[in-house]
Symmetry: D2
Subunit: 133 residues, 4 copies
């Protein structure tokens, strides 16, 4: 599991006084940086090997400006070339949002998906947390 | 169905040369303005009566800077107090992204959901497009 | 003078109930699209020929969600290779913000500024409005 | 002087491959959080006592995704009720952008500026760095 802690910005709020919903996809993308490094260690966009197929976010409670946010990032499924990243935004011991992003290992040169194998697959598997039944 | 047309901004792009995924939730929220007016005609945030429960976005193809975007917004389900908004982002005759947002008719004073009834329900139903089997 | 009209998004607001200051640079960049077309008619980022040297924004009054924004864009100075773009954000007959951006005609291949001459200079001059003394 | 270090997000980039100019005002606002605490210790927007009068940003060099950003924040002028915040964005030992923001100590209830005095003025003065001649 990867964790990222940061303080929200005033601009992350909206007129309802809490964090605006559109900030969560941005925060979750920011919190995937360490995961991205498994594919592109120096994060050079010219060497990018991932595409985002879909996102889903459940807004479970309000998040606020003024208190630290912690984003927990882990995987709950690894397929042949795609995988599912789960991300949770916590504040003051409560979860505020939970997201899932489906990413695909992809060659932009060949416009084709790439298998997840070898050391890369092992590195991803180290962050796999499957729900217990 | 509501439609919104606009030109993307340079800042909507990312280093892969296309529109960044995190812009779609922002565009979709912008395109819900006309829908929001059914609940709060003058859009005064102090009279707000909606909360967003979840969003889901499928990234179906690339969108680019330099060509007009059209967002189509309609409903595909109306429940007792919640409803599902479908939103499609089109460019050059192709769909680039498709989103679903679950919104709840809600009283911030009473912290309780409100029924969707009467003229409000009729107004929403006018934008209901159900998938045919 | 170029003009762009649009409705603010809920996400453009902040917890003070008005439009957040960080949205103005984004709106002003969006409103420079027509100006950018004088340099790169199809707006293809690979053919970009401008860099932004500086911005300055005065926040003169509050702007709000729920009413149309009009951005007026014109030039007040044209130098050898750089020029100054003035942008005003109006709402309900009142100016809310006024910005100035200094842009430089630039070759990314040669990493050198380019002169503003010929038809390009004429096209820019058509949008030049100088303050009267 | 306040310092904030963080990693840029992929969404902070644009199609030119570097950090988009509109992100700097957002980063600089984020980096003013510690300064805001001198006015509103718990950062509760309902107790806010500052308005932003203007910003100015010079884009001195490119900033990139993949390397840590450090924002340095200090004051270079303290007036009766307003003050000037200088902010510098550094990456890899080079300054990429330098901004100035003019803020005003302000009562939203009375719609009037407030003097900067006593402990507040002392706290601000501790972050005052004046250019040497």
């Amino acid at each position: 599991m990867f964790t990222l802690k940061f303080s929200p910005s005033f601009t992350d709020t909206d007129a309802l006084g809490h964090i605006n919903n559109t900030r969560l996809p941005v925060w979750f993308e920011r919190a995937r940086n360490d995961l991205f490094r498994l594919f592109t260690p120096d994060l050079d966009p010219k060497k990018w090997r991932l595409i985002l197929a879909s996102i889903k976010i459940d807004f479970l409670g309000e998040l606020f400006y003024g208190e630290e946010i912690e984003i927990k990032t882990y995987l709950n499924k690894i397929g042949n070339s795609s995988f599912v990243v789960v991300q949770e935004a916590w504040q003051n011991g409560k979860i505020g949002s939970r997201g899932e992003a489906v990413l695909v290992h992809y060659s932009f040169e060949n416009k084709a998906s790439l298998p997840l194998e070898g050391e890369l697959r092992e590195a991803l598997t180290a962050h796999l947390i499957q729900a217990t039944s």
